[in-house]
Each structure stands twice: as C-alpha cells, then as structure tokens.
C-alpha cells in the first residue's frame, strides 16, 4: 500500500489486513515501554489545514511509538499565509526528506492532488465532507474489539445526524457495508445528500422507529452553522428529533453499542453524558485511535522491521 486515501480504495482485504495489524499495535501499547524501533529513520509530516485535536495527536503519538521522526506543519505560522501555494509547500517539505504526509484539509480531493506532487506516502486525515478513512478503521476496530466479530454480517449500523457534511459517515458507510453490515441513515432530508439511491443504505427520518432494531448507534456531530444555512430550524428542534436522550437509550436493545467520533456537542446530539450509557464505546474509540494509526503508518512505511524489538 502506497497511500491511504479512501476506504473504497483500500478494499476489503486491505481493510481486514489493517484491522489485524492493529491487534499487534494494541499489544505494543500495553507494554511497560510502549515503543518499538520499526520506523526509526522515517519522517512523518502532519499537514493540518483544519483544526484537529484527537486525529493529529493520535497520529503523532502513533509515529513516535514506532520511533519515526515527526514534523508538524502549523498553518497559522506557515508560508501559506505569505501566499505560498500548496504545491510549493508540499515540494518544500518533500525536499527536507519526508516519507509520509498526514493531510487534513477542508477541500475535497486535496490528498489525491498532493499525491501527484510528491513521492511520499499520503494519509488522508480528512478531506472536506468526503473521506476520513482512519476514523472508519478506528470505528471498525472498536466494534470488532467489543463484539469479537470479524465480520459485521447480520449487524445493523444506524448512523444519525448530518450525513450530508460528514466525511466520517462517508467512510463508515463504505467500511460497515464492506464488512457485511446493514446500514441505516437517520436524518432530516436537509442533512442527507440529494440522492443516495446508489448507496448500500436504508434511510429513515424517525430515530425512534429505528432504535429497537439497532446494534450500533453512531451519533454524528451537528455543527451549529447548519442552522444559519437553513438545514435545521433550531438546534432544539434537531435535538428533540435526533438527539440521544435517556429515554431513547432505554429503547435500545440491551447489547446495543453507542458511538460518536467526537468532538461531541453536549446538549445537541448528545443530551446525556456518555458515561451514563452502559455500552458507550466513545472512550474506546479514542484509545484505539493510536493503535490503528500505528498500523497504518507501519503498513505504509515499514519494511519488514521487527515489531518485537525495543526502541
């Protein structure tokens, strides 16, 4: 694998290979010294053109645990603000000797464009509302860990909220379907793309109808600017129809799982504290983020190095 850009480009075998490799990384992370020399001498640059806490930190932590050197590109202090083009910025950093770029950008397709401009590997850490493949890997791994199921066949995943603007939803729809799950999208029509008839999903506009048949309830963040754009009249109305309340938790099956990619909007899509939800995996999602990204970096940059050694 040269790049990780989108779940559908990864394919089912690639997806399973990364999930299996993540098991090794989880084991490394449980060691007293959670660090191996696997990527010593390799350099990973983070190119984040959008705010991020967990994704950027988990990539940087993952790189360090594999002994790679890291470089952080800070947009606010960079030459981009002096009018340097993205292509020139990428060329400049490439010239410093970089093996992989971790890229997040508000614009769809930027990771693909950058991959044409550099020999380094590209990891898509989120492009616009398009793809966020490592988040989908984290989510699949977390479900696998909780259910001990390697296939999601027979499982019903329900994704709730702003599907239209969500890269997490687009990556997860692909990943869940590839692993065999049935997927239902729950949102008002204004927060769905205009035409999803070609997606392997069902659509509902009523969360309460769907809850009793849900195995994994995946809540998406609703950004407050969606109101100004006329997608929903008020956050309160959205919250009443699509937010997770104590009453709705009671309507879930006993073994149903609740997930959220973060950051959460307390009081909007999450009207209860996640710790009050018995089967919430939200903290596991964050914890597994490092291991999954170690697996991705090792797959892209490793060359048969031993994961058992000590740094």
């Amino acid at each position: 694998m040269k790049h990780l850009l989108a779940i559908d480009e990864l394919g089912l075998d690639g997806l399973n290979a990364l999930l299996n490799l993540t098991d090794h990384m989880v084991e490394i992370n449980q060691r007293p010294v959670p660090k191996v020399p696997a990527l010593r001498g390799r350099t990973v640059a983070s190119l984040f053109f959008e705010d991020s806490t967990r994704t950027r930190l988990s990539f940087e932590t993952a790189a360090k645990r594999l002994s790679a050197d890291t470089m952080t590109f800070n947009v606010s202090t960079s030459s981009v603000n002096k009018g340097e083009s993205l292509r020139d910025t990428v060329a400049t950093i490439t010239d410093m000797g970089v093996d992989a770029f971790v890229v997040r950008h508000k614009s769809v397709g930027i990771p693909w464009q950058i991959s044409e401009w550099t020999k380094a590997s590209i990891i898509n850490a989120g492009d616009g509302a398009h793809q966020h493949p490592t988040q989908a890997l984290v989510d699949c791994y977390t479900i696998r860990e909780a259910t001990h199921a390697k296939s999601f066949s027979g499982m019903h995943m329900v994704i709730v909220g702003d599907i239209k603007h969500s890269r997490v939803a687009r990556s997860n729809i692909q990943a869940f379907s590839m692993l065999g799950a049935a997927v239902t999208l729950v949102a008002p029509p204004t927060l769905l793309p205009p035409d999803v008839s070609h997606w392997p999903v069902s659509v509902s506009h009523n969360l309460d109808d769907v809850l009793p048949q849900t195995d994994v309830l995946y809540m998406l963040r609703l950004q407050s600017e969606r109101m100004a754009q006329g997608h929903v009249p008020t956050l309160r109305e959205y919250s009443e129809q699509y937010g997770l309340t104590q009453k709705r938790v009671m309507n879930l099956q006993a073994q149903a799982i609740v997930m959220h990619p973060g950051p959460m909007n307390r009081g909007v899509e999450m009207q209860i504290d996640p710790s009050d939800v018995k089967n919430s995996l939200i903290h596991r999602q964050v914890a597994n983020g490092v291991a999954v990204r170690m697996a991705v970096l090792f797959d892209l940059l490793g060359s048969g190095s031993n994961l058992a050694g000590q740094a």
Binding site: S85, L86, R87, H105, K106, S107, V108, G109, I110, W112, Q113, G128, A129, H130, Q131, K164, H165, S166, R167, R170, P193, P194, D195, V196, S197, H198, W199
Partner: protein, 426 residues
Amino acid sequence: MTKSIVIKGGTIVNRSSEQALDLKIENGLVEQIGKNLKGEVYLDASGCVVSSGFVDLHAHLREPGKEEAETIETGSRAGALGGYTALVAMPNTDPPQDSVAVIDFVREQGKRAALVEVVPSGCITLGRQGESLAPMAELAAAGVSLFTDDGSGVQDASLMRRALEYARGLGVTLAQHCEVAELTKGAVMNECQCCTNLGLPGWPAIAEELMVFRDIELVRITGATMHFLHLSTKRSVELVRAAKRDGLPITAEVTPHHLSLTEELLTSYDPVFKVNPPLRSMHDIAALKAGLIDGTIDAIATDHAPHPRRDKEMSLDMAPPGMLGLETALGVVLAEGACEVRDVVALMSWNPAKIARVDDRHGLDLVAGAVANICVFDPEIKWKVDPERMASKSINTPYIGRSLKGRVRHTIFNGATTVVDGQAQR
C-alpha cells in the same frame, strides 16, 4: 499590395451549394470562384472544406486585467488556429467592459494583433455587480451590440426586465449566463450521484432552468432579443424549444465541452474539469445534441476561459471554473459526431455571425465580392492535443490525451493568411 491567394482543391461550402472549386482572394475580398485559378500564393485544400471563418460568441481574452492567463494577442492567435476570424470578447475583464474607454481599448488591441476581429461585448450592469445598468446607449453608440454579465447572471428580475426594455429601445441583444446564485453557493460540480459520493455541494440543473424560464417570460413581455449562453441541461433545451415555437426572439448556444464531457470526470479531483455551468450527464448531452439538430440551439460557442497553471493547481472548491476551447472546438465537435459538417459551419460561422451582428463581414457565402474571412479545415483528420504546443498562454485544456477529429489547415482573415498548414503565421 498583398499577394493574391488561391485556395486549391477544396470543397467550398455555402448555404445552398457545395462546390469542388478553387477560390481566389485579392485585396481582402473573394475575387473569383472557378476551376484552375491562377494566383501568386497557392494554399492546398485537398480533402478539405472551405467555409466562411468561424465566429465565437464566447471568448474570455482576459485583457485588460489578467494578462498572466491570456492576452488579446495570444487569444486571437489561438482563435486563428481554431479557424476563427471573429471573437466576441466577454466583458468580465478588470476593469470590466462597462465603459467606452475599455471597449475601445479591447477593440484596438484586437486590431493591433490583427489575427481575428475582436468584437467587444458590454456589461449589462455596472461592474457586473447586478445592481444598476451599465451605460448601454453609450456602449451601443461605440459599436457594442451584445451585452452580458457573463460569469454571473443578473439575479434581480426587476433589473433584468428593465435591461431588456432598455435594450429593445437600442436594438441590441442581451446574453444571459443562467444561474440562480442562491442555489449554487459553494457549488463545484453538477448535483449528481458523484457529487453525493465526493461530499461536494452540487450545482443543480434547476439553478440554470429557473433563470432560463424567467428570462423567456421577460422576453415575452418586453419583446427584446435575448441570447442564452452555454446551455447545459435537458430541461433548458426544452424550455428554449418551446419559446422558439412561440416565435420569441431567442437564440442559444452550447459549448463543445458540454457536448463531450460528463460529471464523472470530477472524480479525478482535477480542477481542469471544473467549469461553470458544470459538466452534466450523458442524458443532458443527448438533449443538447438533439437541440443542435432541430435548430433549438443556434451556435456552438467555446467559453474559452484561460487560467494560469497555479490557479488550476488549487483544490476543486478553490480553483476558478473554466477551460480552454478555441483551438479544440472544431475537433471536439466533429469527434462527437453530433452533426454533419455543413451543420458545423452553420453553428460555428453563419449563425453566430448573425447573433453577434457581424454578418456583413463574417459568416458570408464565399462568392465574388465577399470579405475574405475564410476557414479551410480537414474534417476527417485525427489528432491529439499537445498543451505545450498551444498558442494560448494557458494550458488548462481538458482534452489532453483525447483523440479529436477534424483540424483547421488554413485561416484567412480580411484576405491575409493567419494560419497556413496548421501553423500560425504571426
């Protein structure tokens, strides 16, 4: 005195005839049509069509203001290589073509380059801001007969109504870029399944069709003449077809790229395929082609829109829309096989000359005494686009690597050769 030129061995295509005859040019005019004509310079036209030069209703020549992308000279040369003898220069320059000074400048730069006739269009509204009318009477007196805010449509229906009423009094034509801006905020590509997958805001067909409908109805009540720029959807074609059936004074154009390229190309993430209106579906292409054949669409116009390389190296959402067109228009249209060669001459020369009101000197039947604005093209030859060899200052053509059919061999502007054997003469 320039030397007399004889075009030998081609087929002269006129409105009511096709004749395998030689054509002699002297003193800027067609001097004679006949067999075995003698002259001082001979141009071989075997296997070629000899027609009136092409007229483009829609060229962004970028001067003044964006000379990094194109100048009137480089755009004129690109036009000559594409078989054009007249280009209507779109007014979204900087400063825009909303004053006599800028109109005169554009026309003079065209005369200096002397490769085609540059026909400046004027803005409908001041600064293309859509707020108040440009001095249309002054501009009309300076020779402008086509007015447009191309790049954006006039959003305010009341202002558009007044513009049409005012235009009727002046006897000029308004050309609309149909796009209801509220429906296309942030839009990058056609609203379709690809755009759902990519998570991009869509440019829905209805954003074009609503304004086509509105303006047809405004023409109905004002009686002004109206030209629709770059129609791209099936329903737009149907609306114009019905309006023409009602006898309204309406004309319409389509671009070569809307006849040949589809929305799926955007999944390459290459901004070279970003254009406004966006590439649509096969369904729309079929309707546009049907419109060419039944006369609903009067002209093929390029929407030639050069952009410097760095501007097209941005992301899909940030890159400016637009693609080159002048040097590839004929090859794309013939490769698509959308219509017969004779129809191509009508759509690229006879009809647009009339819409641009330059039909006293362009788009004429090639008979003795006609102004010698002539295109000689081989309709069968296959070729591939090499962006590095294009005359345009920019290289943003979507046709790299595609096989085109039909190429311009010679172009004669006002009796002088601008292109001979596919090579620009100046």
